[in-house]
Symmetry: C2
């Protein structure tokens, strides 16, 4: 019973490379039945979440940022859901589902303190583990908290969502439809256009083959949910209505770009005259309101549809790289079931 | 008794030109004693306010913006304070001080409706007319409302103010000192550095001779009061603390720049990770809270110092152009007393 880990092997320059930046390693000497827990907990991971923010953490550690860089030569990390196999701690017992952020290995030993900072999930709705790190995990919380708290949506308004087929974008669009908004979404393939139309988006376009500038001019909006930054943000600033809100969730177009090649946004001066509120956030530590009463139920009933791009087993980082490139349709996740 | 007007003569390309963009014209046939009021009010202007936002209104009217373009061939307009000389309306009587936005002429005839949208000032503190369009007028309200409502200042925090010697900046810096903040200010001349140090700024520098990047790195801050946009905004994004607030008041560095030459801001992606709130506003229509109970009193007592750059009489636009170039020290105003 060996333990397989996704190793963070080398700091990438630009786009990460599977097998080089990240690499699959196997520890044959690992034995889950005998591994020493030192008062902690042994968790068998069931789903590992692949998210754009992780790109920011595989950087040269001398570059400071809001979250520390991951350590080269150790396991790649991120949001995960697993089941307690053994416990040295009275606080945890076998069979519990734990959700938190830790090593991307099949098995992880958490200290009691680490385990205590994780969340014990009831999962009354019996959702799949992949969904527990997706629509009901960090991306779902991200969509839910920011759409209501920063977006301040009002019925009859319009919202533009970039990377609309992604883990966060697909939830935002469906929440917006529930609230009676017109929803415009940009994606990077015709297949994704088809997918978000099925979700109920009113306007869906492939930014690689259609003109974002023309479409936004035709469909003005009050809220911009920004997952990508760069030129799309510039065009959004140009076309957003007065008193618009910009939910700054990510800037995936800029993550693999060297500082000197970063896109320069020319329309920031419009923030003044349009009286915009442009606000960034990190989901950790936010008051999630009714998230757990509402979202798992909506997902279980199908009222909110989720699409996941599932990779089975730990690979050499191909799934992570594909997610960054936009090749995954839906929430990118590694399943270990 | 002729009437002199500052005429808006020609749409500028880039920097406005005195005598060409704006031009002094005299109407010799004007007679304030006999001019027909048609139910309105005759106001003798005492002070005309020169403000950066006016640059945005002398543009090609085909370019849409938050406020309509001024009409070429008519009077240049803006905030003004004057005294009622004659009135056809029962609502107004001679001697009253009116504050509002209208033609930059020595005399203006306002309709009853226009006069009703103006403010009647009591001026209990007997402040000079120039101050009524400055610290106690639009720039003072701009500073006061946004510093508290967007800035959300907390004692012990730090604020960085660009164009800190200007009409708005000088008030913001002094409000911030009152609230126990560390205040950093950038200005465009050594004379202005001296001036804002006299106002109590903790750090004052001339961005033309010192490195903004280095100074901001040495003095991190929680609030950025942005009057200038462009590169200063980019450096502020880089150096502002997590949970920082950016008060987007103006972008004077970009007003005279053609669209293709606009500065591209590369650090907008930091809005996400630093969880910044970046908010623009226009002062019209805002709830000013205790502004009138506090600011006129503070100015009268000298607790808030004001510096005005006063031009006597209507010129050919030289004073306006100088204000845009940053050549005025303090609030730029035309006095007609």
């Amino acid at each position: 019973m060996p333990n397989t880990t996704l190793l963070y092997n080398k700091i990438p320059k630009g786009v990460p490379v599977a097998g080089e930046t990240l690499k699959r390693v196997v520890d044959d000497s690992f034995n889950p039945e005998t591994v020493d827990l030192n008062g902690g907990v042994l968790v068998q991971n069931k789903a590992l979440s692949l998210d754009p923010y992780q790109r920011g953490r595989i950087r040269d550690p001398s570059i400071s940022s809001y979250s520390p860089a991951y350590e080269v030569g150790k396991a790649f990390r991120g949001y995960a859901v697993g089941v307690v196999l053994r416990s040295d701690s009275a606080k945890f017992k076998p069979g519990q589902i734990l959700s938190g952020s830790w090593d991307f290995s099949e098995y992880v030993v958490l200290t009691e303190e680490e385990a205590s900072s994780a969340q014990i999930l009831e999962n009354k709705e019996k959702l799949p583990f992949t969904t527990l790190v997706g629509a009901v995990g960090m991306p779902g919380k991200t969509a839910y908290w920011s759409f209501y708290n920063i977006g301040q949506p009002k019925k009859g308004e319009a919202i533009f969502v970039s990377a609309a087929a992604g883990a966060v974008g697909q939830i935002v669009g469906q929440l917006a439809k529930r609230e009676g908004l017109k929803v415009i979404g940009s994606v990077g393939s015709d297949e994704k256009v088809k997918f978000i139309k099925e979700l109920g988006f009113d306007v869906a376009f492939n930014y690689k083959t259609e003109s974002t500038a023309e479409i936004l001019k035709k469909h003005p909006f009050d809220i911009f949910f920004d997952n990508v930054g760069g030129e799309t943000l510039d065009l959004a600033l140009e076309n957003i209505n007065t008193f618009g809100r910009i939910i700054a969730c990510g800037a995936v177009s800029q993550y693999n770009v060297l500082p000197e090649e970063r896109y320069g946004v020319k329309n920031t001066f419009l923030v003044v005259g349009k009286q915009l509120t442009y606000r960034g956030f990190i989901i950790g530590g936010k008051d999630l309101g009714n998230f757990y009463e509402e979202v798992p139920r909506w997902v279980a009933s199908g009222e909110i549809k989720v699409r996941e791009h599932i990779t089975r087993g730990i690979d050499n980082g191909e799934a992570f790289v594909a997610m960054l490139k936009g090749d995954a349709l839906g929430k990118a996740v590694i399943s270990l079931e």
